[in-house]
Amino acid sequence: MAWSILSLILSMSAAGGLMIILTFTVNLMFYKKANFKWHYYIWIIALTRLLLPFSPEVNLMAYLGENISHLTQTEISNFNSTNTSKISKDVQENISNSSLLQEDSKTEKIKGYLCIFWAMMALLLFIQKVTVYRNFIKFVRAGSTPIDDINQLEILSKIEVQLRVKKAVDLWSNPLIASPMLIGFIHPCIVLPSALLSEQEFYYTILHELMHYKRKDMYYKWFTQIIICIHWFNPFVYIAGKIINYLCEFSCDEAVTAHLQSTEQCREYATTLLNAMTSQGVYKERIATLTLSENKKILKERITVIMNNKKNTTVNKILLTVLTIALTFTGIFAGSYTINASDSLNSNDIIKNIKKHNKNDTVTTAQADKMALELTNKIWVWDWIEFFVPYMSEKGVKKLIPASRNAQWAGSVDMTTGKKLKFTKKQINTARKHKPSTSLTCGDIDKHALLIMQSNGDWECISFMLPYMSHKGIRAVVHCYNSKHGGQKKKAEDYF
């Protein structure tokens, strides 16, 4: 479980990282060819790749992932074959087997901790971002006064009509903020550092902020932030976040200038941006507010962009459509690698790997010991144990008598005297004398398990034999169990 979550996140992160590099390259290559709107929204593909765990079965990450897991699988089967070649040295096998199991549970634990660590970090980051943003908004609102000038409110409403913004965005002023900004999801509000703006400046400022609102840049920003939280360990997502922020302003300027009619108006808009820079406010917040102009570095570039408004030509449009489709497909096929249940390396699977499915396969003495002791631990029935005794090791046989004393169920108590019963040495020695000509096979286990199932119908009395049984044998036992317990309670396939 932990491993599959980790591998999913890592593969999503890797595929997403690849998409980020690709998208950035495309941004650079087609910087002059495409408009900023395209550059800005093309990032959605990479972001969606980072967020969605779904992908077609054939994909790059699955291919890479399978290669890796194939390697580990071969290692294990190598390990197993060396194991089976040492069948006679059953003690050694026992040791190596159990140490492998131990090691496995250890790594499984570490994976679990890693998984929790990842989730905790993601959650903490998200909470931190939300808190910072909420506090910022609280501060801004607390120091704000609504702008009562009816003329300014009317200009705002008129621009809303022009841009087909349905919601009435409120208008406040706060002398402490560094730049005009748009805050709030449910009650959107434009906050200006000062209401004392010329009508022209006021118009362009509002136009810019309302354009952010109309384009739902706020949601895009938070979408990016959520992805940064999930993939906090991936440096590429931070870079992507920065690039998206820049592109957001560029494409917003682009949308504003597209709305303006003359170059003269564009110049006026650029002047407004410059003037906004000189504002003296101090409140700044970098997560998700949409400001007018905060970053001096990109301002020069933005003004250049405003003055040279570019539009996609028809040829470019075709090229860009092809590019968009190509990127989408790359995104889909970059995929994420969800590890299959059979790939996960837990102890059950190691037993499965050791398990022989052919009814003629032999069962080792150590395995016979294990089964006999398990059965004794469960229930005291001499006939059922007797079956194993001839195939057991000396060491195993010695453990039988003490084990029979501690058997779980009432079978171990003499019903008339209430005394605990145990196997007698005599019984064991007689059984030992009967040396079998052939070794114990899976087919024998099949029959024995079925016999036990038929007589008491208790699943726990045979569950430990399942790893050594053939598919046919398991089917027979499951069928018997189901018929005893009424209906399809268990499925044989679950135990293969």
């Binding site: 609504p146 009562d148 009816i150 409110l153 009317e154 705002l156 409403s157 008129k158 809303e160 009509v161 919601k167 009435a168 965005v169 409120d170 208008l171």
Partner: protein, 123 residues
């Protein structure tokens, strides 16, 4: 809550709502505003109404999909609190100062003066 300042535009709306006793629908308010020559944008009015609600002067009840606005304060109550605020701020709570000012700067007509006198005598 009701001590919060009110802007000229907001007062304009309140006056309209006070002069129409029943809860008013948005369209009715727009109509009344147009009568006094205020052809405001729809969103401007929405903003002003929501500010008035936030300040506690108004409340809105859903009538189907439409909002019906009801005043939470009468005109008299409003005038009273506003006057109190005014006296507190300008005359440091000294009402006689205000009356003196009104009388000495001839802001009261003869009839208003008589009315004021009558009220004082009754009390």
């Amino acid at each position: 809550m009701q001590n919060k300042g009110i802007s000229d535009a907001e007062l304009e709306i309140m006056k309209i709502i006070w002069s129409n006793t029943s809860p008013m629908l948005f369209a009715q308010i727009t109509e009344e505003l147009e009568k006094v020559g205020k052809n405001w944008q729809k969103n401007t009015l929405i903003t002003l109404l929501s500010r008035l609600m936030e300040k506690g002067y108004l409340k809105a009840d859903k009538h189907g999909r439409k909002n019906a606005y009801t005043s939470l304060i009468t005109e008299q109550e409003f005038q009273c609190t506003q006057t109190k605020n005014f006296v507190d701020r300008v005359y440091q709570g000294d009402v006689s100062g205000l009356v003196t000012q009104l009388v000495s700067s001839d802001m009261l007509t003869e009839s208003e003066y008589a009315e004021l006198k009558k009220i004082l005598e009754v009390k």
